[in-house]
Assembly symmetry: C2
DNA sequence: AAGAACCCTCTACCGGGTGGAAGCTTTCCC
DNA sequence: GGGAAAGCTTCCACCCGGTAGAGGGTTCTT
């Protein structure tokens, strides 16, 4: 297998947005949106104004992606990432926010289960109109 | 048991929107919104332009409220209510839509369960940064 | 007859993106 | 080297399911 190109790894790989999208699986527009919302700060801009990202940004996007999938809101994510960026261990912030999230997930699951029962009940109760005025 | 009040029940009670809101527990604005979206058709308008509702509208709002609580979308509700209004037995439409809804609820529950596990895993994996750089 | 309570329409905003237009820059291929 | 294609930029508008407020007309109570 041929080596990937140059001899030594550059310290600042300077990924452009398309590459980041390819690597994270997120749409380009969404990444831009996250930048606009302050979730993600590109390492720099090229002379021509292109956003330049680094590995750290990729890591952040991975976090964003997982937590968004768990319905963590953008402002909450912003707070989490800010703390993380500040370099301090943000265990307590994360733990609080994750615990809250688990709580709300449990609630939501209970709600959904209730809905399921309700739907089943509804389905049952509507069975008996079958003989009333069949539409075919 | 005493009879409900007057001698003969009026055929067209002509409820105004505030009364409907009071009875259904829905905000006035939401009821107007449902009218705008075509979910609900007020029986008539007063000379001064007020929406006038009847008992049937109340029944529809009850359906709307329950199904909305189960995340049935507005367009889907519109279809359901249209069929219902047409007078035919809409069992099959409802059954299809409810079955689909239950399917998606099951999916959602599975997703949430997966999230919960993921969160638990996350919570566990972040425990061990406690010694790295404690913020207090 | 006044004032409160009610109702109307219209416009704008929320979150979390997504789509498209118009205009640069970079890359590819001949 | 030159032109096309792909990639990037900003900006504006749209999606859903409402909700808030402005500005003005109507009905009810006193």
């Amino acid at each position: 297998m041929a080596r990937q190109g140059s001899v030594s790894a550059k310290p600042t790989p300077s990924l452009r947005i398309g590459e980041v999208a390819r690597r994270t699986g997120l749409p380009v527009k969404t990444i831009r949106y996250y930048c606009d919302e302050g979730l993600l700060q590109p390492r720099a801009r090229s002379e021509s104004g292109y956003r330049l990202f680094d590995e750290e940004n990729l890591a952040e996007l991975t976090i964003i992606r997982s937590l968004r999938a768990m319905d963590v809101s953008i402002p909450e994510l912003a707070r989490i990432l800010e703390v993380r960026r500040a370099g301090v261990c943000n265990c307590s912030v994360l733990k609080d926010s994750i615990a809250a999230k688990m709580e709300s997930i449990n609630l939501r699951i209970a709600e959904l289960a209730a809905m399921k029962e309700e739907l089943a009940r509804l389905l049952g109760s509507w069975q008996d109109c079958g003989g009333l005025k069949p539409d075919r």
